[in-house]
């Protein structure tokens, strides 16, 4: 735990000195702010509470940009700069190292999400909030982000080039996101109806946009994200091990 904590502190502090992290936050909040203002003024007192799940939903959609940008340098830079050799000859296991890194980037993401709670707080002053939807959409976006950051971390472990890691990260998140559309298309074509359900169960949107974000809290959706985080961390740890063995 001690080593995890040491890595975690350093990495998290780096996000507060990283232009990319500030860039991501700036773009996100600018966009959300404009959207919120237009939404509220368009509603004109009618039902501004519809914005409740828009902010976390938008963030989770944007993870295909946010997650690669936040994770791309996390592991690739250590390999490129050679510091991996220093760290992996310290009494620290790969899991501690990867976990410290992952928790740091997830914490930064969590912070973005916490700042986004400003919208429900503002909305609560003019209406009554749907607490179920609030909890579901924010909890879901938190797990969704964690899973996508973990998936993107795999690419950062695999490639020394940050740009390659970022592109493959973005592609993986989009594939997982669009899997539901692919499943719908497949079942509409009447082909692979069994496979279509299977593909759908793998998709991000089936476990978030249509359930958690609507305030439907199902154990299977939460489990989906948690298992994805565990699997991605496991794969990342193995890659770091293999990298070091072949260095």
């Amino acid at each position: 735990m001690r080593a995890v904590w040491a890595v975690y502190k350093r990495e998290l502090a780096l996000y507060f000195r990283s232009p990319i992290a500030y860039g991501v936050a700036l773009a996100l909040f600018l966009f959300l702010g404009l959207l919120f203002t237009s939404n509220v003024s368009a509603g004109n007192g009618q039902a501004p509470a519809t914005f409740l799940n828009i902010a976390p939903e938008l963030l989770s959609f944007l993870t295909f940009l946010v997650a690669p940008l936040l994770t791309m340098r996390l592991l690739s830079e250590e390999a490129r700069e050679g510091t991996l050799e220093v760290l992996m000859t310290l009494p620290m296991r790969e899991l501690q190292f990867v976990l410290g890194k992952f928790l740091a980037v997830w914490s930064y993401y969590t912070l973005l999400l916490v700042v986004m709670l400003i919208y429900p707080i503002l909305l609560s002053t003019v209406g009554i909030l749907d607490i179920g939807q609030l909890v579901g959409s924010y909890l879901g976006a938190w797990l969704y982000g964690g899973a996508m950051l973990a998936v993107c971390l795999i690419w950062s472990a695999l490639f020394e080039d940050q740009i390659v890691a970022a592109f493959l990260g973005a592609a993986s998140v989009l594939v997982l996101f669009l899997a539901e559309s692919a499943a719908i298309w497949a079942s509409n074509q009447g082909i692979l109806s069994g496979a279509a359900d299977f593909i759908r169960e793998f998709s991000l949107s089936a476990h978030y946009q249509s359930t958690l974000a609507q305030g439907v809290l199902r154990a299977e959706d939460i489990l989906y994200f948690v298992l994805m985080i565990i699997a991605a961390i496991f794969i990342t740890v193995r890659i770091v091990e293999i990298r070091r063995w072949r260095a």
Partner: protein, 318 residues
């Protein structure tokens, strides 16, 4: 203590090190010598637990590097070849970070003590990116010394330092060698000769010679050739020297002669001196052909290239 037993590492079809065995004793500095690409870094990476060997074993500080890697890592200080550092951190911040991962108490005190040891305490608060190459090298060394490890493994620690810093660092390594096991690699032979109690010379993944530098020299001088300079035309004195007892052949090299003894156990110098003086020649110089580590190195590594199958030519238990 480092014990390496039949260590082999292959990368696909390439054999980086092949059946390496040697020992580095506590209280000694062991030099690990070889041309670039000989397998020094690979060996050190295996010893530090960074990568596993293909076969063979290594015991460092009493623990197996492969099965008890964490125990080994607690007890070694390692300076990797190109000294990777976090450039965004301050020197003291970097050391405190490593100390925290290592779980040390009194982190600031230990970090400052390590910087003091390498003479860099006055730059403790400087960002590593602003330090010169030599200073970074010393930060790396401080990182290796941070936890006062039993075993120090330093991969080419003097590269990139100015001559004054090199001298300082050699003194420091010698000093550390008194109460640590130090293994350091270099391709600068005079350095190994000055600093090491024991050298292991490797080439293309094989050990070609090992022992203490003085023993290695004796080993090669015995049976070695004799340098003769006479105040006369070498052509003229050549038959006279060739007639001396124990001389097998004489070659002329410029203004001097090289005599080869007929047997490795014979020192023909007294005989050569006698025949020359009896023939009324002025003998100016008579000595074993100087064998410095440089020459041993060139000789053993070249033999290895010509005859890759050959066994190590000099095995001296120092």
């Amino acid at each position: 203590m480092i014990e390496v037993q039949a260590l082999t590492k292959r990368y696909g079809a390439v054999t980086a090190i092949d059946n390496l065995s040697f020992t580095a004793q506590p209280g000694q500095v062991t030099g690990f010598l070889g041309p670039n690409g000989a397998g020094k870094t690979t060996t050190m990476r295996i010893l530090t637990g960074f990568m596993p060997p293909t076969s063979g074993a290594a015991i460092v500080a009493g623990y197996d590097v492969f099965t008890q890697s964490m125990e080994v890592r607690r007890r070694i200080g390692y300076l990797p070849e190109n000294v990777p550092l976090y450039r965004d951190m301050t020197a003291v911040g970097y050391l405190m970070y490593l100390a925290e991962i290592r779980g040390l108490a009194d982190r600031r005190k230990k970090a400052e003590a390590a910087l003091d040891r390498v003479g860099l305490l006055y730059r403790a608060q400087s960002r590593i990116r602003s330090l010169s190459k030599g200073m970074r090298q010393r930060v790396g060394l401080a990182a290796a010394l941070l936890h006062d490890p039993e075993v120090l493994i330093l991969d080419e620690p003097t590269i990139g330092l100015d001559p004054f810093q090199v001298l300082e660092l050699r003194d420091l390594i010698r000093e550390l060698g008194q109460d640590h096991t130090v293994l350091f690699s270099t391709h600068i032979l005079s350095e190994a000769e000055q600093v090491c109690n024991n050298v292991v010379i490797i080439n293309q993944g094989h050990i070609v010679a090992q022992g203490n530098p003085a023993d290695l020299r004796v080993e090669l001088e015995r049976g070695g050739r004799i340098f003769v300079r006479v105040n006369a035309n070498p052509e003229e004195v050549r038959p006279i020297i060739a007639n001396a007892a124990g001389v097998a052949s004489v070659d002329i090299e410029g203004d001097h002669l090289i005599a080869t003894p007929s047997s490795a156990n014979i020192d023909p110098r007294p005989a050569i001196a006698r025949v020359l003086v009896e023939a009324n020649y002025e003998l100016v110089e008579l000595r074993p052909l100087a064998v410095r580590l440089e020459e041993i190195f060139l000789e053993v590594t070249q033999r290895q290239i010509q005859h890759p199958e050959e066994e190590p030519i000099a095995e001296v238990v120092g």
